[in-house]
Protein backbone atom coordinates (compact mmCIF):
# COMPACT_ATOMS: atom_id res chain seq x y z
CA UNK A 1 0.00 0.00 0.00
CA UNK A 2 1.35 3.37 -0.87
CA UNK A 3 2.25 5.94 1.68
CA UNK A 4 -0.44 8.14 0.31
CA UNK A 5 -3.22 5.71 0.88
CA UNK A 6 -2.03 5.11 4.39
CA UNK A 7 -1.94 8.83 5.05
CA UNK A 8 -5.57 9.16 4.07
CA UNK A 9 -6.77 6.47 6.44
CA UNK A 10 -4.63 7.80 9.25
CA UNK A 11 -6.08 11.26 8.83
CA UNK A 12 -9.63 10.00 9.21
CA UNK A 13 -8.58 7.85 12.11
CA UNK A 14 -7.28 10.92 13.91
CA UNK A 15 -10.50 12.80 13.12
CA UNK A 16 -12.49 9.91 14.50
CA UNK A 17 -10.55 9.84 17.73
CA UNK A 18 -10.93 13.57 18.22
CA UNK A 19 -14.68 13.47 17.65
CA UNK A 20 -15.04 10.47 19.93
CA UNK A 21 -13.36 12.27 22.81
CA UNK A 22 -15.18 15.54 22.25
CA UNK A 23 -18.55 13.88 21.93
CA UNK A 24 -18.04 11.87 25.07
CA UNK A 25 -17.76 15.14 26.90
CA UNK A 26 -21.01 16.35 25.39
CA UNK A 27 -22.82 13.63 27.19
CA UNK A 28 -23.93 10.33 25.80
CA UNK A 29 -27.12 9.99 27.74
CA UNK A 30 -28.52 6.56 28.21
CA UNK A 31 -29.52 4.12 25.53
CA UNK A 32 -33.17 4.89 25.83
CA UNK A 33 -32.65 8.61 26.04
CA UNK A 34 -29.64 9.48 23.90
CA UNK A 35 -27.88 12.66 24.76
CA UNK A 36 -26.35 15.31 22.53
CA UNK A 37 -23.08 13.50 22.07
CA UNK A 38 -24.58 10.13 21.28
CA UNK A 39 -24.65 10.18 17.52
CA UNK A 40 -21.22 11.77 17.32
CA UNK A 41 -19.73 9.16 19.57
CA UNK A 42 -21.32 6.30 17.70
CA UNK A 43 -20.29 7.71 14.33
CA UNK A 44 -16.74 8.37 15.41
CA UNK A 45 -16.43 4.87 16.80
CA UNK A 46 -17.52 3.48 13.46
CA UNK A 47 -15.09 5.82 11.74
CA UNK A 48 -12.25 4.61 13.88
CA UNK A 49 -13.08 0.96 13.33
CA UNK A 50 -13.43 1.42 9.60
CA UNK A 51 -10.21 3.40 9.49
CA UNK A 52 -8.36 0.60 11.19
CA UNK A 53 -9.87 -1.98 8.86
CA UNK A 54 -8.86 0.12 5.89
CA UNK A 55 -5.30 0.48 7.11
CA UNK A 56 -4.88 -3.14 8.10
CA UNK A 57 -6.61 -4.49 5.03
CA UNK A 58 -4.29 -2.59 2.77
CA UNK A 59 -1.18 -3.54 4.64
CA UNK A 60 -2.06 -7.15 4.10
CA UNK A 61 -2.56 -6.82 0.38
CA UNK A 62 0.09 -8.64 -1.68
CA UNK A 63 3.06 -6.60 -2.75
CA UNK A 64 1.95 -6.66 -6.37
CA UNK A 65 0.05 -3.48 -5.54
CA UNK A 66 3.35 -1.68 -5.17
CA UNK A 67 3.53 -1.41 -8.93
CA UNK A 68 0.71 1.04 -8.79
CA UNK A 69 2.67 3.28 -6.50
CA UNK A 70 4.17 4.93 -9.51
CA UNK A 71 1.16 7.21 -9.74
CA UNK A 72 2.23 10.43 -8.12
CA UNK A 73 -0.37 12.67 -6.69
CA UNK A 74 1.73 15.65 -5.81
CA UNK A 75 4.75 15.67 -8.03
CA UNK A 76 4.12 17.15 -11.44
CA UNK A 77 1.05 19.01 -10.30
CA UNK A 78 0.97 22.74 -9.81
CA UNK A 79 -0.51 22.60 -6.38
CA UNK A 80 0.93 25.99 -5.57
CA UNK A 81 -1.60 27.41 -8.01
CA UNK A 82 -4.32 25.91 -5.87
CA UNK A 83 -2.86 27.68 -2.86
CA UNK A 84 -2.78 30.93 -4.77
CA UNK A 85 -6.42 30.70 -5.76
CA UNK A 86 -7.38 29.68 -2.26
CA UNK A 87 -5.51 32.64 -0.86
CA UNK A 88 -7.21 34.91 -3.33
CA UNK A 89 -10.68 33.85 -2.27
CA UNK A 90 -9.79 34.11 1.40
CA UNK A 91 -8.56 37.63 0.77
CA UNK A 92 -11.80 38.34 -1.04
CA UNK A 93 -13.82 37.33 1.98
CA UNK A 94 -11.83 39.74 4.05
CA UNK A 95 -11.90 42.56 1.58
CA UNK A 96 -15.57 42.24 0.81
CA UNK A 97 -16.49 43.95 4.02
CA UNK A 98 -13.75 46.50 3.63
CA UNK A 99 -13.92 47.54 0.04
CA UNK A 100 -17.42 46.58 -0.87
CA UNK A 101 -18.65 44.34 -3.59
CA UNK A 102 -17.67 46.10 -6.78
CA UNK A 103 -14.06 46.75 -5.94
CA UNK A 104 -13.38 43.42 -4.27
CA UNK A 105 -14.99 41.41 -7.03
CA UNK A 106 -13.08 43.27 -9.69
CA UNK A 107 -9.80 42.69 -7.91
CA UNK A 108 -10.55 39.04 -7.33
CA UNK A 109 -11.32 38.48 -10.97
CA UNK A 110 -8.17 40.18 -12.18
CA UNK A 111 -6.19 38.14 -9.70
CA UNK A 112 -7.75 34.90 -10.82
CA UNK A 113 -7.17 35.65 -14.46
CA UNK A 114 -3.58 36.58 -13.99
CA UNK A 115 -2.43 34.28 -11.24
CA UNK A 116 -3.00 30.89 -12.77
CA UNK A 117 -2.45 31.12 -16.47
CA UNK A 118 -0.65 33.72 -18.50
CA UNK A 119 -3.33 36.10 -19.65
CA UNK A 120 -2.85 39.43 -21.27
CA UNK A 121 -3.61 42.41 -19.09
CA UNK A 122 -6.31 43.90 -21.24
CA UNK A 123 -8.11 40.58 -21.46
CA UNK A 124 -8.00 40.17 -17.72
CA UNK A 125 -9.15 43.69 -16.95
CA UNK A 126 -11.88 43.75 -19.55
CA UNK A 127 -13.30 40.38 -18.56
CA UNK A 128 -13.14 41.34 -14.91
CA UNK A 129 -14.99 44.56 -15.53
CA UNK A 130 -17.70 42.86 -17.51
CA UNK A 131 -18.19 40.04 -15.06
CA UNK A 132 -18.21 42.36 -12.08
CA UNK A 133 -20.85 44.58 -13.60
CA UNK A 134 -22.96 41.70 -14.86
CA UNK A 135 -22.86 39.88 -11.54
CA UNK A 136 -23.71 43.09 -9.76
CA UNK A 137 -26.69 43.42 -12.02
CA UNK A 138 -27.85 39.87 -11.45
CA UNK A 139 -27.24 39.61 -7.75
CA UNK A 140 -27.62 43.08 -6.38
CA UNK A 141 -30.12 44.72 -8.63
CA UNK A 142 -32.26 41.82 -9.68
CA UNK A 143 -32.01 39.41 -6.76
CA UNK A 144 -31.52 42.17 -4.19
CA UNK A 145 -28.78 40.38 -2.35
CA UNK A 146 -27.50 42.89 0.18
CA UNK A 147 -23.76 43.13 -0.20
CA UNK A 148 -21.68 44.92 2.42
CA UNK A 149 -21.35 48.56 1.37
CA UNK A 150 -17.66 49.22 1.86
CA UNK A 151 -16.04 52.27 0.42
CA UNK A 152 -17.85 52.82 -2.81
CA UNK A 153 -21.15 52.61 -0.96
CA UNK A 154 -22.44 49.97 -3.31
Amino acid sequence: MTRHQRLGSIFWLVVGIYVAIASYQLGLGRLHKPGPGFIFFLSSLILIILGIIDLVGNLKRPKIEKEKKAEPIWRGFRWHKVLLVLGGIVAYIYFLNLLGFLLSTFLLMVFLYKAVEPTRWWVAILSSLITTVVSYGIFRVWLQVPFPPGILEF
Partner: protein
Amino acid sequence: MKRGAKEILVIVGLVVTFALLFQSVDLAKAKDPDYPTRPINFYISYGAGGTTDLMFRAFCDTAKKYLGQPFVPINKVGAAGTLVGVTVMNSKPDGYTFGSFAATNVIIAPLSGESPYKDISNFTLIGNFANYVYPLMVKADAPWRTWKELIEWARKNPRGIKVSITGAKSNTSMGVCVSQAEMKENVEFTYIPLKSSSETLSAILGGHITLYGSTVDPSTLEYVKEGKLRILAFMDTCKVPGYESIPSFQELYGFSIINVMGVLGPKGLPDNVLKKWDDTFAKVVKDPDFVNTANRMYTPVVYMNRTELNKYMAEIYPKAGEIIKMLQAEEAKQKK
Protein backbone atom coordinates in the same frame (compact mmCIF):
# COMPACT_ATOMS: atom_id res chain seq x y z
CA MET B 1 9.61 36.43 -9.53
CA LYS B 2 7.64 36.18 -12.72
CA ARG B 3 6.66 39.46 -14.26
CA GLY B 4 2.95 38.88 -13.90
CA ALA B 5 3.21 37.99 -10.27
CA LYS B 6 5.15 41.13 -9.47
CA GLU B 7 2.49 43.28 -11.06
CA ILE B 8 -0.22 41.60 -9.08
CA LEU B 9 1.69 42.19 -5.90
CA VAL B 10 2.08 45.87 -6.66
CA ILE B 11 -1.60 46.33 -7.31
CA VAL B 12 -2.62 44.43 -4.24
CA GLY B 13 -0.20 46.45 -2.18
CA LEU B 14 -1.62 49.71 -3.50
CA VAL B 15 -5.16 48.63 -2.83
CA VAL B 16 -4.39 47.54 0.69
CA THR B 17 -2.69 50.85 1.39
CA PHE B 18 -5.64 52.80 0.10
CA ALA B 19 -8.05 50.64 2.02
CA LEU B 20 -6.19 51.21 5.24
CA LEU B 21 -6.03 54.90 4.52
CA PHE B 22 -9.76 55.07 3.96
CA GLN B 23 -10.40 53.13 7.11
CA SER B 24 -8.68 55.74 9.18
CA VAL B 25 -10.81 58.47 7.71
CA ASP B 26 -14.18 58.36 9.32
CA LEU B 27 -16.49 57.75 6.47
CA ALA B 28 -19.52 57.07 8.59
CA LYS B 29 -22.30 59.23 7.35
CA ALA B 30 -22.75 62.28 9.51
CA LYS B 31 -26.27 63.04 10.66
CA ASP B 32 -28.48 62.12 7.77
CA PRO B 33 -31.17 64.78 7.82
CA ASP B 34 -33.01 63.29 4.89
CA TYR B 35 -33.16 59.87 6.44
CA PRO B 36 -33.97 57.51 4.91
CA THR B 37 -32.26 57.86 1.56
CA ARG B 38 -31.78 54.26 0.61
CA PRO B 39 -33.44 50.88 1.19
CA ILE B 40 -33.49 49.53 4.71
CA ASN B 41 -32.39 46.00 5.54
CA PHE B 42 -34.80 44.09 7.72
CA TYR B 43 -33.79 40.77 9.21
CA ILE B 44 -36.53 38.29 9.95
CA SER B 45 -35.74 35.48 12.30
CA TYR B 46 -38.31 33.07 10.99
CA GLY B 47 -38.63 31.00 7.88
CA ALA B 48 -39.95 32.55 4.71
CA GLY B 49 -43.68 32.00 4.26
CA GLY B 50 -44.54 31.39 7.88
CA THR B 51 -47.08 33.61 9.59
CA THR B 52 -44.43 35.57 11.45
CA ASP B 53 -42.47 36.13 8.29
CA LEU B 54 -45.59 37.27 6.49
CA MET B 55 -46.48 39.66 9.28
CA PHE B 56 -43.05 41.25 9.20
CA ARG B 57 -43.14 41.51 5.45
CA ALA B 58 -46.55 43.13 5.72
CA PHE B 59 -45.05 45.50 8.26
CA CYS B 60 -42.24 46.35 5.88
CA ASP B 61 -44.64 46.86 3.03
CA THR B 62 -46.82 49.19 5.07
CA ALA B 63 -43.94 51.07 6.67
CA LYS B 64 -42.58 51.75 3.21
CA LYS B 65 -45.58 53.96 2.57
CA TYR B 66 -44.85 56.20 5.52
CA LEU B 67 -41.10 56.06 5.66
CA GLY B 68 -40.59 56.64 1.96
CA GLN B 69 -37.97 53.97 1.30
CA PRO B 70 -38.45 50.31 0.49
CA PHE B 71 -37.32 47.56 2.80
CA VAL B 72 -35.20 44.55 1.93
CA PRO B 73 -36.54 41.67 4.00
CA ILE B 74 -33.87 39.08 4.70
CA ASN B 75 -34.61 35.79 6.39
CA LYS B 76 -31.91 34.82 8.84
CA VAL B 77 -33.30 31.85 10.65
CA GLY B 78 -31.63 30.13 13.48
CA ALA B 79 -30.71 29.82 17.09
CA ALA B 80 -34.18 30.75 18.32
CA GLY B 81 -33.98 34.13 16.69
CA THR B 82 -30.77 35.13 18.37
CA LEU B 83 -28.93 35.04 15.07
CA VAL B 84 -30.93 38.05 13.97
CA GLY B 85 -30.31 39.58 17.36
CA VAL B 86 -26.59 39.24 16.96
CA THR B 87 -26.65 40.58 13.42
CA VAL B 88 -28.61 43.68 14.36
CA MET B 89 -26.65 44.22 17.53
CA ASN B 90 -23.40 44.34 15.61
CA SER B 91 -24.62 46.51 12.77
CA LYS B 92 -23.91 50.17 12.24
CA PRO B 93 -26.51 52.30 14.03
CA ASP B 94 -27.24 54.38 10.97
CA GLY B 95 -30.88 53.42 10.70
CA TYR B 96 -30.54 51.05 7.78
CA THR B 97 -30.52 47.78 9.66
CA PHE B 98 -33.40 46.49 11.72
CA GLY B 99 -34.70 43.14 12.76
CA SER B 100 -37.61 41.20 14.15
CA PHE B 101 -38.11 40.27 17.74
CA ALA B 102 -40.46 38.01 19.58
CA ALA B 103 -40.44 36.84 23.17
CA THR B 104 -37.89 34.18 22.48
CA ASN B 105 -35.03 36.15 21.09
CA VAL B 106 -35.28 39.19 23.39
CA ILE B 107 -36.45 37.75 26.66
CA ILE B 108 -36.35 34.01 27.03
CA ALA B 109 -33.17 33.07 25.23
CA PRO B 110 -31.00 35.74 26.88
CA LEU B 111 -32.38 34.96 30.32
CA SER B 112 -31.95 31.23 29.98
CA GLY B 113 -28.33 31.77 29.14
CA GLU B 114 -28.53 30.33 25.71
CA SER B 115 -27.66 33.34 23.65
CA PRO B 116 -24.60 35.48 23.14
CA TYR B 117 -26.31 38.48 24.71
CA LYS B 118 -27.62 38.50 28.23
CA ASP B 119 -30.13 41.28 27.95
CA ILE B 120 -31.44 43.94 25.64
CA SER B 121 -29.02 46.68 26.53
CA ASN B 122 -27.44 46.47 23.09
CA PHE B 123 -30.71 46.99 21.29
CA THR B 124 -33.17 49.76 20.69
CA LEU B 125 -36.63 48.27 20.86
CA ILE B 126 -38.63 50.35 18.46
CA GLY B 127 -42.07 49.07 19.14
CA ASN B 128 -44.43 46.15 19.50
CA PHE B 129 -47.06 45.74 16.83
CA ALA B 130 -48.83 42.45 17.40
CA ASN B 131 -49.48 39.53 19.66
CA TYR B 132 -49.66 35.88 18.84
CA VAL B 133 -52.49 33.57 19.65
CA TYR B 134 -51.33 30.41 21.42
CA PRO B 135 -54.05 27.77 21.56
CA LEU B 136 -53.49 24.43 23.19
CA MET B 137 -55.28 21.85 21.11
CA VAL B 138 -56.00 18.15 20.99
CA LYS B 139 -57.55 16.02 18.32
CA ALA B 140 -61.32 16.00 18.33
CA ASP B 141 -61.45 12.28 19.04
CA ALA B 142 -59.37 12.68 22.19
CA PRO B 143 -61.16 11.86 25.44
CA TRP B 144 -60.69 15.30 27.03
CA ARG B 145 -63.20 18.03 26.46
CA THR B 146 -61.70 20.60 28.78
CA TRP B 147 -58.27 21.55 30.01
CA LYS B 148 -59.14 20.34 33.48
CA GLU B 149 -59.96 16.88 32.17
CA LEU B 150 -56.61 16.74 30.40
CA ILE B 151 -54.78 17.74 33.57
CA GLU B 152 -56.58 15.08 35.61
CA TRP B 153 -55.59 12.42 33.13
CA ALA B 154 -52.06 13.75 33.09
CA ARG B 155 -51.88 13.49 36.86
CA LYS B 156 -52.63 9.82 36.70
CA ASN B 157 -50.34 9.25 33.73
CA PRO B 158 -47.05 11.07 34.24
CA ARG B 159 -45.27 11.74 30.99
CA GLY B 160 -48.30 10.42 29.18
CA ILE B 161 -49.29 13.66 27.50
CA LYS B 162 -47.02 14.27 24.58
CA VAL B 163 -46.97 17.96 23.92
CA SER B 164 -45.23 19.76 21.16
CA ILE B 165 -44.33 23.38 21.44
CA THR B 166 -42.34 24.56 18.49
CA GLY B 167 -38.75 24.56 19.64
CA ALA B 168 -37.07 23.45 22.81
CA LYS B 169 -38.70 23.55 26.21
CA SER B 170 -35.99 25.57 27.82
CA ASN B 171 -35.58 28.53 25.55
CA THR B 172 -38.94 29.39 24.03
CA SER B 173 -41.75 31.39 25.54
CA MET B 174 -44.19 28.55 24.90
CA GLY B 175 -41.95 26.08 26.66
CA VAL B 176 -41.61 28.31 29.67
CA CYS B 177 -45.33 28.93 29.84
CA VAL B 178 -46.40 25.31 29.61
CA SER B 179 -43.74 24.34 32.11
CA GLN B 180 -45.20 26.82 34.56
CA ALA B 181 -48.58 25.22 34.11
CA GLU B 182 -47.05 21.82 34.73
CA MET B 183 -45.54 23.00 37.95
CA LYS B 184 -48.72 24.66 39.14
CA GLU B 185 -50.72 21.54 38.48
CA ASN B 186 -48.03 19.14 39.54
CA VAL B 187 -48.10 17.08 36.39
CA GLU B 188 -45.42 15.99 33.99
CA PHE B 189 -45.73 16.19 30.25
CA THR B 190 -43.37 14.76 27.70
CA TYR B 191 -42.01 17.40 25.37
CA ILE B 192 -41.48 16.50 21.76
CA PRO B 193 -39.38 19.27 20.23
CA LEU B 194 -40.40 19.96 16.66
CA LYS B 195 -39.07 22.64 14.41
CA SER B 196 -42.08 24.41 12.97
CA SER B 197 -45.76 24.82 13.57
CA SER B 198 -46.46 22.87 10.37
CA GLU B 199 -44.54 19.89 11.71
CA THR B 200 -46.51 20.19 14.90
CA LEU B 201 -49.75 20.27 12.98
CA SER B 202 -48.93 17.16 10.99
CA ALA B 203 -47.74 15.46 14.16
CA ILE B 204 -51.01 15.99 15.94
CA LEU B 205 -53.13 15.11 12.94
CA GLY B 206 -51.16 11.93 12.51
CA GLY B 207 -51.63 11.02 16.13
CA HIS B 208 -47.96 11.16 17.00
CA ILE B 209 -48.44 13.77 19.71
CA THR B 210 -51.39 14.41 21.95
CA LEU B 211 -51.23 18.13 22.61
CA TYR B 212 -50.45 20.99 20.27
CA GLY B 213 -49.08 24.08 21.94
CA SER B 214 -47.90 26.60 19.43
CA THR B 215 -48.90 29.49 17.22
CA VAL B 216 -51.42 28.97 14.48
CA ASP B 217 -52.12 30.08 10.98
CA PRO B 218 -55.37 30.15 9.02
CA SER B 219 -54.73 26.66 7.65
CA THR B 220 -54.39 25.19 11.11
CA LEU B 221 -57.53 26.89 12.29
CA GLU B 222 -59.46 25.34 9.43
CA TYR B 223 -59.11 22.08 11.27
CA VAL B 224 -60.56 23.65 14.38
CA LYS B 225 -63.46 25.11 12.45
CA GLU B 226 -64.16 21.76 10.90
CA GLY B 227 -64.16 20.13 14.24
CA LYS B 228 -61.07 18.01 13.71
CA LEU B 229 -59.06 19.77 16.39
CA ARG B 230 -60.34 21.03 19.72
CA ILE B 231 -58.93 24.00 21.60
CA LEU B 232 -58.67 23.36 25.32
CA ALA B 233 -57.00 26.53 26.52
CA PHE B 234 -55.12 29.63 25.45
CA MET B 235 -51.72 30.54 26.76
CA ASP B 236 -52.56 34.23 26.62
CA THR B 237 -55.63 36.37 26.98
CA CYS B 238 -55.40 36.86 23.24
CA LYS B 239 -57.92 34.37 21.87
CA VAL B 240 -59.17 33.18 18.53
CA PRO B 241 -62.27 35.15 17.65
CA GLY B 242 -65.30 32.99 18.23
CA TYR B 243 -63.68 30.88 20.91
CA GLU B 244 -63.72 33.32 23.77
CA SER B 245 -65.46 30.87 26.05
CA ILE B 246 -62.37 28.70 26.23
CA PRO B 247 -60.29 29.67 29.26
CA SER B 248 -56.90 31.31 29.10
CA PHE B 249 -54.05 30.56 31.46
CA GLN B 250 -54.66 33.95 32.95
CA GLU B 251 -58.11 32.84 34.02
CA LEU B 252 -56.96 29.41 35.10
CA TYR B 253 -53.71 30.19 36.84
CA GLY B 254 -53.17 33.90 36.91
CA PHE B 255 -50.28 34.08 34.51
CA SER B 256 -49.89 34.39 30.76
CA ILE B 257 -47.28 33.59 28.24
CA ILE B 258 -44.91 36.38 27.40
CA ASN B 259 -46.24 37.59 24.11
CA VAL B 260 -44.48 40.21 22.04
CA MET B 261 -43.74 40.78 18.38
CA GLY B 262 -42.00 43.85 17.10
CA VAL B 263 -39.05 45.64 15.61
CA LEU B 264 -35.62 46.11 17.08
CA GLY B 265 -32.59 48.07 16.04
CA PRO B 266 -29.05 48.47 17.30
CA LYS B 267 -28.24 50.64 20.24
CA GLY B 268 -27.26 54.22 19.59
CA LEU B 269 -29.55 55.25 16.79
CA PRO B 270 -29.54 58.98 16.08
CA ASP B 271 -32.48 61.02 17.27
CA ASN B 272 -33.90 61.91 13.88
CA VAL B 273 -33.99 58.23 12.92
CA LEU B 274 -35.80 57.36 16.12
CA LYS B 275 -38.34 60.09 15.64
CA LYS B 276 -39.09 59.02 12.08
CA TRP B 277 -39.53 55.46 13.23
CA ASP B 278 -41.77 56.35 16.14
CA ASP B 279 -44.02 58.25 13.78
CA THR B 280 -44.02 55.56 11.16
CA PHE B 281 -44.69 52.83 13.65
CA ALA B 282 -47.70 54.65 15.06
CA LYS B 283 -49.09 55.05 11.56
CA VAL B 284 -48.48 51.45 10.51
CA VAL B 285 -50.42 49.98 13.40
CA LYS B 286 -53.42 52.08 12.41
CA ASP B 287 -53.18 51.34 8.70
CA PRO B 288 -56.36 49.48 7.69
CA ASP B 289 -54.61 47.07 5.30
CA PHE B 290 -52.12 46.12 7.94
CA VAL B 291 -54.79 45.61 10.57
CA ASN B 292 -56.72 43.42 8.16
CA THR B 293 -53.72 41.26 7.42
CA ALA B 294 -52.94 40.98 11.11
CA ASN B 295 -56.43 39.78 11.87
CA ARG B 296 -56.39 37.36 9.00
CA MET B 297 -53.16 35.83 10.22
CA TYR B 298 -54.46 35.56 13.77
CA THR B 299 -51.83 37.89 15.08
CA PRO B 300 -53.99 40.86 16.03
CA VAL B 301 -52.49 44.30 16.35
CA VAL B 302 -51.33 45.15 19.85
CA TYR B 303 -49.38 48.38 19.96
CA MET B 304 -46.71 49.44 22.35
CA ASN B 305 -44.53 52.38 21.44
CA ARG B 306 -40.90 52.69 22.40
CA THR B 307 -41.46 54.11 25.83
CA GLU B 308 -44.24 51.71 26.73
CA LEU B 309 -42.23 48.82 25.37
CA ASN B 310 -39.18 49.69 27.42
CA LYS B 311 -41.32 50.00 30.51
CA TYR B 312 -42.83 46.61 29.79
CA MET B 313 -39.42 45.04 29.31
CA ALA B 314 -38.16 46.55 32.54
CA GLU B 315 -41.09 45.02 34.39
CA ILE B 316 -41.09 41.66 32.70
CA TYR B 317 -37.38 40.97 32.80
CA PRO B 318 -37.00 40.29 36.51
CA LYS B 319 -40.24 38.32 36.59
CA ALA B 320 -39.26 36.19 33.61
CA GLY B 321 -35.80 35.75 35.05
CA GLU B 322 -37.24 34.33 38.24
CA ILE B 323 -39.54 31.96 36.41
CA ILE B 324 -36.74 30.66 34.25
CA LYS B 325 -34.45 30.19 37.24
CA MET B 326 -37.19 28.29 39.00
CA LEU B 327 -37.79 26.06 36.01
CA GLN B 328 -34.10 25.38 35.61
CA ALA B 329 -33.85 24.44 39.27
CA GLU B 330 -36.73 22.00 38.83
CA GLU B 331 -35.01 20.46 35.82
CA ALA B 332 -31.81 20.00 37.76
CA LYS B 333 -33.71 18.41 40.63
CA GLN B 334 -35.43 15.98 38.33
CA LYS B 335 -32.21 14.92 36.67
CA LYS B 336 -30.83 13.61 39.95
